[in-house]
């Protein structure tokens, strides 16, 4: 496929790896922000191509993983209602809540439907006027334009039986939280290419000034990931801390203005609790008051739920780049994709699930 195959060419991958080896004089720890990048890195063995001393740790950029347990439980409470058709992206179905998951609820008779796009949920609402259709609106900045459009169209077209359970998260406040943690080891970031396709990278510029860490906006293919790594390593070796853009074929500094405009029209920033990490100030989006008719939390007045994570799961430390999946005694033993203890094992983009899928549970920590 055009724009994919070229960026998987082994010859260029090898040259980039050699160039990184030539550039490095001391150890560095880099974090890739996005779960899609984590998946690619483990799938293609990118981390194993890097010279010793360059460590990639995996960031909290999988929205499925970081959606708070309380929100999952809220989703389950709403999905159980007989008057509700609950629509979700497929990867949320097996995320464990306190008691069960959406797939189990579906097997018990709840009307839960997997949609490819939030627009599909809107269509279901139009076709089922006697039902409340609730869309589980999770995601980072990448998904916000699609979710915003669904709410905007429901509002404009007067589709009153459509609402969204919003649990949006934002990358820059998470970067700040990681860098301000006393446990932090990260010295540079591979920035999230698709998030920046939407919002651009202006908001990353104050971060590199403030924390003196390089951020290289990076794509998702092997060549992209290695070039992003090379650019970050060159900055670190030269003592620079700048925002650079590796993913120039798609990302512009200002992002997609039309998308950002609608996102800001529909959503406003709010504090958000991240699963495994805790509350991060102003790190999420919620619906503006104007769209409260389409806000599932208000429509269904779900009570504040407090929930407890399994004690043996270290997903929180993995999401902050402090630990790796194979540091967890449960990894691949009591915790597998079939029986996940925590969300990083559920989504294909969770670090634990990616390590498991590509056989890393058979290997000891390097």
């Amino acid at each position: 496929m055009k724009y994919l195959d070229e960026y998987r060419r082994g010859e260029i991958v090898q040259r980039l790896a050699a160039e990184i080896a030539r550039t490095v004089t001391r150890p560095w720890v880099l974090m890739e922000m996005c779960g899609g990048q984590t998946h690619s890195i483990v799938k293609y063995g990118i981390d194993r191509l890097l010279p010793e001393g360059i460590e990639l740790v995996h960031g909290p950029g999988c929205p499925v993983c970081v959606t708070a347990l309380e929100t999952i439980d809220k989703a389950h409470a709403i999905a159980r209602r007989p008057d509700v058709i609950f629509c979700s992206f497929g990867d949320m179905l097996r995320v464990p809540g306190s008691e069960s998951d959406l797939l189990v609820l579906k097997s018990r008779g709840a009307d839960i439907r997997v949609v490819y796009s939030p627009v599909d949920a809107l269509k279901i609402a139009r076709e089922n006027p006697d039902k409340q259709v609730v869309f589980f609106a999770i995601g980072f900045e990448t998904t916000a334009p699609a979710n915003a459009m669904a709410v905007w169209q429901a509002h404009k077209q007067g589709i009153r039986n459509f609402s969204a359970l919003v649990s949006h998260v934002l990358v820059p406040p998470a970067i700040s939280a990681i860098l301000e943690s006393p446990l932090n080891r990260v010295q540079g970031f591979l920035g999230p290419g698709h998030v920046c396709t939407v919002v651009g990278y202006r908001e990353y510029e104050p971060l590199v000034e403030r924390y003196r860490v390089p951020i290289v906006v990076t794509g998702f293919e092997p060549v992209d990931l290695l070039e992003g790594t090379l650019m970050a390593v060159r900055q670190l070796e030269a003592g620079r801390a700048e925002v650079e853009n590796q993913y120039t074929r798609v990302v512009q500094r200002d992002g997609n203005l039309a998308a950002v405009e609608l996102v800001h029209r529909i959503f406003e920033p709010c504090d958000r609790k991240w699963r495994g990490v805790g509350n991060i100030p102003m790190s999420g989006y919620r619906l503006r008051d104007e769209f409260r008719l389409h806000d599932a939390e208000r429509v269904f007045a779900v009570e504040e739920i407090s929930a407890q994570e399994p004690a043996e799961c270290i997903a929180g430390l993995i999401l902050q780049g402090v630990k790796k999946p194979h540091d967890c005694p449960a990894f691949g033993k009591t915790c597998t994709p079939q029986h996940p203890l925590g969300a990083t094992m559920v989504s294909a983009e969770g670090a634990c699930a990616a390590y498991y899928a590509y056989g890393r549970h058979h290997v000891q920590a390097a």
Partner: protein, 96 residues
């Protein structure tokens, strides 16, 4: 979740609800996409699609330019006969 893939726009049309819609070809698989956020895209151009929405155009000139640069990485050393350090063995990509 933030998976977005490049597809070639093969149809542009106004949807039933007034949204600018279209269809894109992803290496043989054709899907309907929303083009509201890419008002300037033309037939035959590539867009990056996430959950059914085109989020931006793939800039063909920029892709070509940076790809050429990538192809030249390490090439100078080869011309000069310098020995590049051997990268770690990779189970997926064969050596050059």
């Amino acid at each position: 979740m933030c998976l977005a893939i490049p597809g070639k726009v093969i149809e542009i049309a106004d949807g039933a609800d007034g949204m600018r819609m279209g269809r894109a070809n992803f290496g043989g698989i054709v899907k309907q996409i929303c083009l509201e956020y890419t008002p300037d895209v033309n037939l035959g151009e590539y867009v990056l699609v996430h959950v059914g929405f085109a989020l931006g155009k793939v800039d063909e000139e920029e892709a070509l330019r940076t790809y050429k640069l990538l192809e030249e990485i390490g090439a100078l050393d080869e011309l000069l006969g310098a020995e590049p350090p051997a990268p770690a063995a990779c189970p997926i990509f064969p050596p050059i």
